[in-house]
Amino acid sequence: MGRVRAVLIWAALATVLAVPILAAAASPLLAWRDPVYIGAGFAGIVAMAILLLQPLFARGSLPGLAAPRGRRVHRWTGGALVAAVVLHVAGLWITSPPDVIDALLFVSPTPFSYLGVIAMWALFATALLATLRRPLRLRPRSWRIGHTSLGAVIVTGSVIHALLIEGTMEVMSKAVLCGLVVVVTVRVMADLLGWRRHRAR
């Protein structure tokens, strides 16, 4: 029973992550973009997919990745998330430097750029905070509040950023992925910050 459940959970998660990526791979816009621009777009989609995984790893919710192991994976995927965002921005920069400079300086004509840049800085701050956690001897409570607040900024910024963009992502699969990211993040934060009583498992 536990095994079937585990397989089902992983299969559902794999589907939820694969569908938006496959749908984007079928986008007609790809025909009119060079490889660097296409890569930049997919780095953004992969980043959104990792954003769904991060809270699940942190909470230890996934079968086979309970508490200590889940946390370890969470740290690695956190690094991968930073890498994906760096590739996303770098690819866009190569494609059109002035558009990225406008976004970074907050003078872009498109509101979604601001949100993306805010989410990016919140992500970098999170990574920095995570590396400095031990050297600074952050207390667990300060760490948790700092990390989850930044996480909330990352998720809110990224989701609105993605939803406002008309790009290679297919609209329905994008909306479902973004919705799941928000729901999972809020639930896990509620658990970890103790807003909700843990149910006996």
Partner: protein, 162 residues
């Protein structure tokens, strides 16, 4: 025989009506003023390439960029004005030279240039236009298409002397 010009009641009534009607501009003096100069849009000059040549059409065509050029103040149409146009289309990125072209306004101040279909790039289906000939102040526009399936887009210039 005391005539109170301003008591609390008249103050509230006149003050209230001033707030309601004063802000509407209904009682603004009539001005014989033409259109205000068009201001450059944010991001309008992105991937601008000075001196793009005047062309019959950009690439294979199929999409129409059109608009008008008028003078600030009196709104008179400006003929023979050079408008440069570029966009991310089915035939190239904004930065590509072959995505750029220019055209001149006719005697009615109207310009119209055929270009390849604009496709969404950097999150929005949009075009870029520039007036950069120097007789008037330079203006960069960045109109966004209502829908990415549209096959035309308009942008209008009101120019002021340089």
């Amino acid at each position: 025989m005391t005539a109170t010009l301003l008591n609390r009641r008249t103050l509230i009534a006149s003050g209230g009506s001033f707030v309601v009607f004063g802000g509407t501009g209904l009682f603004a003096p009539a001005r014989a003023k033409g259109p205000d100069p068009t201001r450059s849009m944010r991001g309008g000059s992105n991937n601008y390439r000075p001196g793009a040549p005047i062309v019959e059409r950009i690439g294979g065509g199929g999409f129409w960029m059109s608009g008008t050029v008028r003078r600030a103040g009196d709104g008179a149409p400006l003929a023979g004005q050079r408008i440069q146009i570029w966009a991310h289309t089915t035939e190239g990125h904004e930065r590509d030279w072959h995505s750029h072209g220019a055209t001149l306004t006719d005697s009615n101040g109207v310009f119209r240039l055929e270009m390849p279909q604009i496709v969404p790039a950097f999150g929005q289906p949009h075009g870029h236009l520039a007036y950069d000939s120097g007789d008037f102040k330079t203006v960069f526009l960045r109109p966004v298409m209502r829908s990415s399936t549209d096959t035309s887009l308009e942008a209008h210039f009101v120019l002021q002397p340089a």
